[in-house]
Amino acid sequence: ERSSSGFDFSTYHTIEEIYSWMDDLVAQHPNLVSKIQIGESYEKRPLYVLKFSTGRTAKTHRPAIWIDTGIHSREWITQATGVWTANKIATEYGKDASLTAILTSMDIFLEIVTNPDGFAYTHSQNRMWRKTRSINAGSSCKGVDPNRNWDAGFGGPGASNNPCSETYHGPHPFSESETKSIADFILGHGNVMAAISIHSYSQMLMFPYGYKDEPAPDHQELDDLAKEAVDALAAVHGTRYTYGSTMHTIYQADGITIDWTYDNGVKYSYTFELRDTGRYGFLLPASQIIPTAEETWPALTKIMDHVHKHPY
């Protein structure tokens, strides 16, 4: 379970360890992996994204897949899955035919620590912290739920206007640099074909919409692909996922990542809720990191392969 740098994928890590490991990964795979900075957090931490690409720099960007993990900082299994997945992409390129074909014509962007301030805070001060760490004017409560801060149904009933709530949407859409930086990156790129936002826990795979009841124009295709993905996931360790639109699978959620990406032209927009054993909630023991990541991988590749084979 160790890479050549001695990194242990089966334990949880601090942000410093993860950022250092990202540099190691880039050094080990210089022709495939690079690290880019898309902005900085409220507390001035860099927002790093790993870019997996086999193409030369061109004036127009190659079609791309965006993946983010850990926008809710306390869901540690997601950042850990992000680390494992990054390593898997790097080491499977050239071996796994499907992944190799994808990377031959597409780029993959992976933001492992999407909410670095919150993540650092979970390690140093409060393990239960979920939001960003920005100050809210007129309130003693800090932080905004970065998965209610996107400009898609922003401020609707599926979010809270109370700064002390865990689902506080923030003062205005993209008030948080952590979300604004991703939105700017995706819009600036202009050729992102899929966006996959990874959370935990509930064992679900969802797609738009969360902010409205009506089916997305691509509902049937998204639903069919979700079924394929959760079947592939279940085949690894028998873990059962439910799937469907956010609104109908769980509840109304306004201002969420994948509704914004979908409304901005990213047809294949999905969000995962990783493992829940019913015993630990998001305090999943580290012994479950690798099984969780292992089972998520075929679901991810199923989606990525479909995106690759269905250009639009």
Binding site: S10, Y12, Q125, C164, E166, Y201, R279, A286
Partner: protein, 94 residues
């Protein structure tokens, strides 16, 4: 570092819509300082609530008085966090 000694996580699994409504009302009680890990969405989906130790008694009385079924998912949150921290330290030493 904030500690969570004695905090429990309760899992509610109910098939009644009126229970979901009551759980949403409970969430609004700011004095109880409840942390909904899984929010009340709809019947048959679990609702997980981290309840700080001082609020355990009133919350359990509330659930029981309304006939809302629950189980204790995590007996003591701090124990789990201590184990998690210990595992990280051990891995780092290795």
């Amino acid at each position: 570092q904030k500690r969570f000694v004695g905090d429990q996580v309760l899992r509610v699994l109910t098939d009644k819509e009126e229970h979901i409504v009551l759980l949403r009302e409970l969430e609004e009680s700011e004095d109880l300082q409840l942390d909904y890990w899984a929010a009340p969405a709809k019947p048959d989906l679990p609702v997980d609530i981290r309840v700080p130790f001082p609020s355990l008694q009133p919350v359990k009385i509330f659930l029981e008085s309304h006939g809302i079924p629950y189980t204790i998912m995590i007996e003591d949150v701090q124990t789990l966090l201590d184990e998690e921290k210990e595992a990280m330290e051990k891995a780092r030493k290795l």
